[in-house]
Symmetry: C2
Subunit: 855 residues, 2 copies
């Protein structure tokens, strides 16, 4: 090998050349690494980002000097080398240097057919991508390659008004310039920016001597991988095609060889066992030294193995996790690095069955992808129908205009949910994510008839109750019929990775869990306690609803207490179960929050049932139901306002919590329940309720002779509570920011109503993101910071957290961690994402920028 050439603009790639992905691109750098590992890489030269930029803007380039590196008998190929391979780039152009003279020479050395194929391949690429001629004109049908070549040369001259260039210098310069310009085009720029490239991303190019996979002896090209791209399991895949270039084997219809012995046809292993052995060795070297699973592009030229390129195996999220854990377990990468190699946002699809990405999709309805995963079931149009299907063991998908708390039981047994209205944070979406059910909301194109039990789609198809559909909550699509599924991937690798994440993590992760089932999920995903247990759903259960209604209609405190006395043992049992499951971990219980009218019947039939139960005239019931309606229930009589004005409800709940605490305590489990007041806006609300709850605690201690502690805290959901957090912290040992409601109030925007215009708003960049999806750090975030600061000033040890939908969002976790919050709480199925995201933040901080650049 001659002395490496390194002049302005290009660098011959050798083990010692000065070269980085930031200046010459990822492919050039990777090729250098392969050379260092002793792999048989053909002679290669790299053009820097600067040189390519110069070419695009028409600056001169000493192409003769570049050609001199290779010697004039070589054919060359040019491939793009962007900093991150994912950012794309122009396609490779092969066989540069082919002309009439070389055709003659190669016809003699490799045979006329091979020479013609080589020439033709170059001519076609050049005509279409460099000279920008019409591709159709070169779509030739002759069988004989030499005949095709002849015709192509004539067509080229006709179309281009000049003969095909014969000078290798001209050919190479035009190819390089054309690829440089293609990178600057608007389409290419938008495409790579969509993949995360910065606006000023540069392009490098690599010019490589061709290893000719055509001609005499064992000649051909292939691609080989050693892991499965979907599962991440060790398995050889790829193809080898004789008399072909680069990745042709992957596209070949027939004629390609299997790599391993295969009953379906001939294989490389059978025919060239030593080649396969050599490739295996190379893969081991790559994995160990490049610390990654690589896909190798190779060529055999008269039986000689050449490696043209090696790239990171593209992979599904589940494969990414498997590979990262595998590399760490082999000791090739550290556990922290394995953690960093898995994107938190990619985890959700590992937790649920997925619609197989390879399956045929017949989309009948599209909506907002509100809760990930796939499910198959029969369409049902009421919670009741869902329950009767479930009772018969039949999977079903519940369709509603929008869901209400009355639908809860139907939602619990459905396999998937579809609603016409609502957004990412509508009732249906929130509940579904909590249950880990696939859910699509805001499918505003459909026309629903609950009476006829039909659903008409935009294109006029009518689906009936009982029709089988597949719902894809990851894409927001409802598919006709039954589509193949992939099972969840909660295997040992998954557990290991999250354990490693926990080792690195430095902010707590709790789960929002309302039911024993939620709590079980929270435990399964190793949440560090319950950060938000909403208690209202408990009152919608069988046998409780009517008692609630009696309580609501009671005219005296005494009657209210009598009704609540019936609910007390049920609530106590609720909490005893939760404490039992979560034993040893904190459980934060939010007292009753919704407006009471949510529990009242909404139709005449329901009113009649209630009238019967209460021995009242229906008109009385209707009148009272109507009188309790609110203009803006979100801003009405609910939360702590009920606690202040109808204190018997909170009294009952506090008693249930304390009695449950005593009950599990007697079984040896120590619990310090956390009681949280919702919708606080003034210090005095907390003061009043603290006095009452202290009173209940004292009474329970007195009656039972047991002793226990509890913590009283406040859910900060109104801007005023954030502003007055200093005041409020005087009576509260913890503050948990309910960012859903806080966002609604800070923006003056109901999450249930925002769906109608949020799309347009985000599209027009009025809001950079949906603030119910991504925490608005400028507005809501400032209130969090102000609240945290003031609460800490008033009570230095105060526990601070975020609960609600944002809690599982990596950006929100970053915000809370930076603000020194103690924990975030999110829906159980977001817990793994949150654990991983929190670990990323801690590791990135620890390693500094070096770590964040690793991957």
């Amino acid at each position: 090998m001659q002395k490496p050439t390194q002049i302005a603009g290009f660098t011959e790639i050798t083990a010692t050349a000065t070269m980085a992905s930031a200046t010459h691109g990822g492919r050039a750098k990777c090729l250098q690494r392969l050379i260092r590992l002793g792999l048989p890489v053909p002679h290669t030269v790299a053009l820097s980002f600067g040189a390519v930029k110069g070419l695009a803007s028409g600056q001169g380039f000493d192409v003769a000097q570049l050609l001199a590196v290779f010697g004039d008998r070589s054919l060359l190929c040019v491939r793009p080398s962007s900093q991150d391979p994912d950012w794309g780039g122009p396609g490779a152009i092969l066989n540069i240097g082919m002309n009439d003279r070389r055709h003659l020479e190669l016809s003699q050395s490799h045979g006329e057919d091979a020479a013609s194929m080589l020439y033709l391949r170059f001519l076609q690429s050049y005509a279409v991508h460099v000279a920008r001629l019409d591709a159709d004109a070169f779509d030739l049908t002759e069988a004989d390659p030499t005949e095709r070549l002849k015709q192509a040369l004539i067509i080229y001259e006709e179309e281009a008004d000049e003969p095909f260039p014969q000078d290798a210098e001209v050919q190479l310069l035009e190819v390089l310039r054309s690829m440089a310009r293609a990178w600057e085009g608007t389409t290419a720029r938008l495409l790579r920016q969509a993949r995360g490239a910065p606006p000023d991303a540069g392009l490098g190019l690599v010019v490589q001597e061709m290893a000719l996979g055509v001609g005499p002896g064992e000649s051909g090209s292939g691609v080989i991988r050693f892991v499965d791209q979907v599962t991440g399991l060790r398995r050889v895949s790829g193809r080898y095609l004789r008399q072909s270039f680069l990745r042709d084997a992957l596209e070949a219809g027939g004629g390609a060889l299997y790599l391993l012995n295969d009953p379906r046809g001939p294989s490389l292993e059978a025919e060239q066992p030593e080649i396969l052995e050599r490739l295996n060795e190379m893969a081991d070297i790559c994995r160990a030294r490049l610390r990654e699973e690589m896909e190798i592009e190779f060529t055999l030229e008269r039986g000689k193995l050449r490696v043209l390129d090696a790239v990171r195996v593209s992979r599904s999220p589940r494969a990414a996790l498997k590979i990262a854990v595998g590399l760490a377990e082999e000791g090739i990468i550290s556990r922290e690095e394995a953690v960093m190699r898995v994107e938190p946002r990619a985890l959700p699809e590992l937790l649920h069955p997925q619609v197989d990405p390879k399956a045929r999709r017949d989309v009948v309805v599209r909506g907002i992808a509100a809760s990930p995963g796939g499910a198959i079931g029969k369409l049902v149009f009421s919670a009741h129908a869902a329950q009767s299907h479930a009772a018969q063991g039949e999977p079903c998908v519940l369709v509603r205009r929008e869901t209400t708390p009355e639908d809860i039981r139907g939602m619990h047994v459905a396999n998937g949910i579809l609603t016409e209205r609502g957004g990412m944070t509508s009732h249906a979406a929130v509940i579904a994510r909590g249950l880990g059910l696939p859910c699509i909301v805001g499918a505003s194109g459909i026309r629903l008839s609950t009476s006829k039990k039909t659903l008409r789609t935009l294109d006029g198809r009518v689906l009936k109750e009982g029709d089988l559909v597949t719902i894809d909550g990851s894409t927001g699509e409802v598919l006709a019929g039954e589509v193949e599924m992939l099972e969840p991937a909660l295997d040992d690798s998954f557990q290991s990775l999250l354990d490693w994440a926990d080792a690195a993590r430095d902010i707590g992760i709790r789960a929002n869990a309302d039911t024993p089932a939620d709590a079980q999920t929270a435990r399964m995903f190793k949440a560090e306690g319950i950060g938000l247990c909403r208690t209202e759903h408990m009152f919608f259960e069988e046998g409780r609803m009517m008692v609630m209604r009696e309580m609501i209609f009671a005219d005296t405190e005494e009657d209210r207490r009598a009704a609540l006395d019936q609910l007390l043992p049920m609530q106590r049992e609720d909490f005893t179960q939760l404490f039992g499951i979560m034993v040893g971990q904190p459980v934060c219980i939010r007292l009753f929050d919704p407006p009471l009218h949510e529990f009242l019947p909404s139709d005449r039939e329901g009113a009649r049932a209630l009238a019967e139960a209460l021995s009242l005239p229906v008109s009385d019931v209707m009148h009272r139901v109507e009188a309790m309606a609110e203009f803006n229930p979100m801003l009405g009589l609910r939360g702590v306002r009920l606690g202040v004005t109808v204190p018997e409800i909170y009294d009952m709940q506090a008693r249930a919590i304390f009695e449950a605490t005593v009950a599990v305590g007697r079984k040896g489990a120590h619990v310090v329940p956390e009681i949280m007041l919702p919708l606080v806006s003034a210090r005095r609300e907390v003061e009043l309720l603290k006095t009452r709850i202290d009173g209940v605690a004292a009474a329970v201690k007195n009656e039972t002779g047991a002793s226990f502690d509890y913590r009283l805290g406040v859910m900060v959901e109104t801007p005023r509570a954030a502003l007055r957090a200093g005041d409020i912290a005087g009576h509260a040992t913890f503050l948990s920011f309910g960012t859903n409601d806080l966002t609604q109030m800070t923006y003056g925007l109901s999450r249930d109503d925002a769906g109608k215009f949020m799309g347009a708003y985000v599209q027009q960049q009025v809001f950079p993101e949906d603030p119910f999806h991504t925490l608005d750090q400028e507005g809501v975030g400032e209130l969090l910071m102000l609240g945290a600061e003031r609460a800490r000033a008033a009570r230095p040890g105060v526990t601070l957290s975020v609960c609600g939908e944002h809690g599982g969002d990596p950006d929100t976790i970053a915000f809370c961690r930076a603000a020194g919050f103690d924990y975030v709480s999110c829906s159980p199925f977001r817990v793994p994402v949150a654990r991983l995201a929190a670990a990323h933040l801690a590791i990135r901080d620890e390693l500094g920028e070096a770590a964040s650049g690793l991957h």
Copy 2:
């Protein structure tokens, strides 16, 4: 007169004694002033607050030394002297020193009857108020005073187990101690605190030599005033009663003399003309030197005139204004002082007819007093009925469960409004205050049947359509039948006072005015422009509603524009009228704000009419109406969100504003319209709309060839807009804080729904005040401060203001003034209050504490 005595605890009142209301009470100080003016005040001694406090706690007091001031032949009376006369105090006790010996002496000098009456009066007071015996026991029926006295002495001895004390020292000491203790009692303390006294308010006592209004010659007592307590007009009133003490004349059934000649009976003027002349002179002296209209208590003792006391004439608000302006016009007090003497909060009742406070009240319904003033009319239960009554010239009172924008036309023609639901800031209340109509809301005790057109009251009375009622919006009472009224008092004195207020004021006052009628009221009350013109009501007018509905149902931008083109000339005319009325003054127009579904029919009948107009099936109309419903309309698709997503509406409004500007400009009136965007939460909303509105302005300039300016501003109603005010001010020349909505969002509290529990909340001091009534300075106020600070930092000359219900509240004006806001804007009928309140603040600042203590 001997040398004045001034020892620890008491001070003889002389012209030169050292004495202040803060140490000896207002009565003592006033008596000193009367002495300085040369009025014939009997010998008087004042006990300081400290001395009285000592007496109450049982400390010794040298009563002998006090008695020595008077000489042992005097009878004495003791009266309270609190710092502010309004704080009350124990009743006067007369004729101290009466005993068997003095009875004998006085029987000789004044006659036995007179002597017995003197003794009896003292004995009864002493028995009940000092010895605390049962008052009933002394309720004697004998006609002869001496007989009554004898019996009373016996009863006293029986009840008290001791004879009536004969020693003047004992008598006086007991009286003083008893009065001192009465002041310390809980009832008295609560009573005076309710009147504004501080918890540590002290009591002084004055001991005065009795002028005996009984006995031979012209003897008697009287009270005289020279202004009318209700109207403030110059008019002598009061009574004189022969053979009586102190204020007995006022309570006398018969026998009292009129003061001036009167056909109804004998008068002092006729019988003692020189006395009346002397009293007239004294009144002139008092008014000139005490700078106040005084009520004089006088006694004639054998024809000799003595002045026992003089107090500020108690007065109605309208009298207070008249008197203050009168004193200023006479040059007795300054105009600033006159301004300070009228309470801003007292003004509203001068602006409206009032239910005569003396009239008999048969209260049938009670609710929240939401808009002051009284009205008489027939009950009607629909806006339509109100209109047909009005068409026949019949006054009516509109009763609704709650009002909606559809009721507007009915409200405009009604004389008063009553609603079952809502609070101080409900739709009905806000509109009624804007219209200056008496209004009662939240009359939750009533049971309304709009179908039967009846109203059942709590006590079971049923009122029907057409029944005559009187509505008192100042007290929140609905009275049966027709009750007498007082007319408004917008006379010259009123105008003068407010002109003087304007001269002192240093913050702008604008009016919220939506209609030409509002604008006329605003001009009448001298508002400095319109601070908030809501444009949505304009679309509810006859002939516009259906076009609005067509616009809402339009499927394409083109159809929407076609509908809006019909509205354009009407809107242009709206603005042309407003600019015409307000010419020369700024008019701030808020673009369309409410959710579109407010314009849709709410019942099947309305849907059918709409379906006919649009040639659509009713089911289609119903479905679309239903699809547009919102869970929380307050937080939904409205305000600038409509401007962004359905921009054609704002385009039309901007065009109407600019074309109106050009139209009035052509008539020679220069207008710089202010355009305000509602419900902003992000800078980009303003940016987008600014571009569009600039475009419309350019188009109108181009089409008309006229030139004009306009100002674009933002209504800050969401907490986020306040937090991001710096950003937003980049595109807005003014920010107007809409404190109604801002309060709703900061608290997470809908004003329409808060009524149900606000009473309980304020009662339990959860909120110190209803934040929709009094600006919450701690929470909402902080957002105002933050917003103002950030807006100013970004744009130093930015105009800042508050509009909405709080704008007319004196505390809010104080807050805005302190924060350096440019103006406040309030409903037209609050403008006088605001002008006066702002003047108070400026004058108080200028004079410092001295001024605030003047009054």
